[in-house]
Amino acid sequence: PAGPGGVAVPRAGLKKLALPPDYSGITFPEKPKLKFMDKVPAVPKVRREPRRLRDIRGPSQVATDFTQGQYGILALGGGYLHWGHFEMIRLTIGRSIDPKSMFAVWRVPAPYKSVTRKSLGHRMGGGKGPIDHYVTAVKSGRLVVEVGGRCEFEEVRPFLARVAQKLPFPAVPVSRESLREMRREEEQKRLDNQNPWTFERVVASNMLGMRKYLSPYDLQLKGRYWGKFFLKHRV
């Protein structure tokens, strides 16, 4: 507001008293901190299993939505989490949350898949190596941990971002609203795409014989996934 000499006149307005956030519908689990995950499952595997990299490929069908908490870490790519990652997550989140007012919950199981390694410096051959360690497979679109309680997203986001950066796949901290917003924007992008040619359409009707150069999985993956990577910019 300009005063008589053209100088801005400072003024104090009415204080808008905002109500404090309502945390009534939140149920705390028995143990607010993250459970300790074993390096090796209780019954270690006897038989060495094949590599089966398809458990990394494509979108996740499990643990895509929130159950108990309000904020979490969303995986935007596929990868394997081993015991070191689990410890990092458990300790960082345990250090950053206040157990009296916040809680955290795992959304991935303990390492179950055995990974073999041959000893270093030997030639190829001689059979499959022994079991080295165990990992958990994570597909893109899956929640890794959930955090909830009497807290706001702005308080939780810094340490969740630090954890997400250290994971072997790209990940972002999300809240319920931000995840909903992400899904809504994706859907809107898909609907108002001005390009009449979409990957899905080309692959489904095998235009120009494109399926010679594509995989049969591309019918489901629809050009948004390549190997373990999730192509966020593609519609």
Partner: protein, 234 residues
């Protein structure tokens, strides 16, 4: 449907840790099927700005607005003064002195008063409500006492007033204060109006009164003439 086995013989697996090189045909297909954003006929920056929607009505602001409306309705004199920061005890003293003359001191916020004034009949008082200000409201019009009190307080300056639906500037208020009180002026008006009617009686009696005076004068003259010639009786 299986791809030809020759393609996979010397290639890496489908899922790799590194970014696997894509077939050129696949790259071309991805380039063709990229997302194209919709372009509206009128760019959004040429359209008028959307005003803030969902402006929640603040209950506190509504209460203050209602209070201001009631004070404006129930007072004959409303004086707007500029207020510079005063010590608290001086504010209390000022309030006390003005209260003795039945003048109430009200602190108002411009952002609440401005919409109230714009809708009421006091539209022309809007330019006065800039900077920190206070309202002196009173059901009676005692401008002289108010000016006397305000003269002793240098931090409060009178900007303007609205007395009996008449907007007065600072000069106007001073002139108004110098006017005689209502009863005296009423008496003066009555006297001025009844001046002519009071003169009617003397006007009517002026002819015979003049004749009476002339006759009296004549008798005196006759008596003066006859007095020295006639001997006093007895």
């Amino acid at each position: 449907w299986l791809p030809a086995l020759q393609l996979l013989r010397h290639a890496s697996k489908a899922v790799t840790r590194h970014w696997k090189a894509m077939n050129f045909q696949r790259q071309k297909l991805l380039a063709v099927t990229e997302y194209l954003a919709p372009r509206p006929a009128v760019p959004p920056r040429c359209l008028p700005r959307p005003t803030a929607q969902g402006h929640q009505e603040d209950g506190h602001a509504a209460v203050l607005r209602r209070q201001v409306q009631e004070t404006l309705r129930g007072s004959r004199m409303v004086a707007v003064c500029q207020y510079n920061s005063m010590p608290d005890e001086d504010v209390v003293t000022l309030r006390h002195y003005l209260r003795k003359h039945d003048i109430h001191v009200k602190f108002v916020l411009n952002e609440i008063v401005r919409p109230v004034l714009a809708q009421s009949k006091y539209r022309n008082l809007l330019p006065l409500f800039v900077c920190r200000n206070i309202l002196l409201v009173s059901p009676e019009t005692r401008a002289r006492e108010m000016l006397r009190v305000l003269k002793g307080v240098p931090q409060v300056n009178l900007l303007g007033a609205c007395i009996d639906d008449t907007i007065l500037s600072r000069q106007g208020v001073e002139n108004f204060a110098r006017l005689p009180p209502l009863e005296v002026s009423q008496g003066q008006t009555v006297a001025a109006l009844s001046l002519l009617s009071s003169q009617t009686c003397s006007l009517l009696q002026r002819g015979p009164a003049h004749l009476t005076a002339l006759l009296d004068q004549h008798i005196r003259q006759l008596q003066d003439v006859a007095g020295p010639t006639e001997p006093p009786p007895g």
